[in-house]
Amino acid sequence: MKTPELLITASPHLAAGDSTPKIMWHVVGSLVPVIAVSSWFFGISALLVVGAALAGALVTERACGQGGTLADGSAAITGILLGLTLPAGLPLWMAFLGGAFAIGVGKIMFGGLGQNIFNPALLGRAFLQAAFPAALTTFPAMGGPWWQFRGDNFALPFLSPHAPDTVTAATALGRMKFEHAGTPLWDLVLGSTPGSLGETSGLVILLCGGYLALRNYLNWRVPAGIFATVAVLAAALHAIDAKYPDATFMLFSGGLMLGAMYMATDLVTTPVTNAGCWIFGASVGLLVVVIRVWGGLNEGVMYAILLMNALVPYLNQWTEPRVFGLKPSRGRA
């Protein structure tokens, strides 16, 4: 058969070579260094918890999702990200349940990839936080041999975990909030502070997220907006009263780095316009500072992003660009 002389296809004719699976697997790849660092700090427990959350997400996607959706990698991202927001000593069945909830309720109930309103991983985390508040806020202390379990990872479902020999420690944000004690900045940047698995090492997350931003797989305006707002507000508060933490502490403590780079830049649950992304980022930053400084909780990144996820339909509508050649219309844009 000879090739046709004139090939007619529908637009667009320029292809960037990117596809959903390609982007998703790139994100998964960029998370590998983060997992490696967390395993360096938290030992074998880090791999176990991330693995359990990942398994929960993948099994649910396979069981309930439309066929073939496992290959696009989005369930893997949700599972890994959820695992990285959990403390190292968490019983594995809780991590598995969180992964199953994140995919089952957070994504499949909403119609699958691309149609969910809330970030599935964060919804899973919020669910776990509401269901098991004590387990989710027990952070193991640093140190110890690599193969030592940090807490009762193998507790049976619905039995209270007991791990008398684990040493727990407060996170940097908890120490700041309840004891007004600071943490050396270098520890925060490198990640050698107690906390959730993937949130401690700001440097590695910045590098991995920066790689994604360079490839244009995440909109750099969102993290830029978050960092700028948090830095400015924290610096202003610190200047007014020194009891509030300074800007570098705010930026590098807690889940801000992971949230800003990976959760708030989720392609599905963030605005599609650049102006919307700026507003989204700035609002997340504002909410983070408000919840951290005045809230009853010491960490607010998760809730800030979830709240702004709910506003995304409006942000998209308000920042809808004018169609070229049309006059701006009055009333409803």
């Binding site: 309103i117 809330f118 919804l123 919840i291 400084v293 909780l297 998760m302």
Partner: protein, 193 residues
Amino acid sequence: MGDLAWIFFSAMVVNNFTLALFLGLCPFMGVSGRIETALRMGLANIFVLTLTSLSVWVLNRFVLETAPYLRLIAFIVVIASLVQIVEMVIKKVSPTLFRQLGIFLPLITTNCAILALAIFTTARGYGLVEGLVFAVGAGFGLALALVLMASIRVNMDLADVPGVARGLALVLVIAGSLSLAFMGFAGLLSSSG
């Protein structure tokens, strides 16, 4: 002044009637299908809650002091009839406003959020001004929840939702997710950090 601002903010966001206390769920589920109707429902809510707060203050101050056991019945009867009367007055005086509020005005007189506001106001011993601020805050909170829900539901209209989750089931899932997100405000401002 700071106290009043706190009452307002607390009623609107921290202890949001719908998303934190699960009150007034019927309009939240029922009329959140379109942004337009949700907005009007929110307006009507603010209006009725303010009236409620006013009548509760009058009742508590002048009538119920001698007969506290009549509280529940008095609240229900007085608020419902007051709203009916006001509705008639509005219909006569300002047809535009009447059309804006529409059917929602009589509908929400029997809403649990209204009775809850009356009981909260009494239990916390709010005065006239505090009660009014509390009512307006709660009203804005209900409107906020309604408008958020409506925008999400409009967005979900085109989504390929699985059969088991169609309709009200999905609304409940969204409501639960919103409620989880609002948990972030828990304890906000309660301790001056």
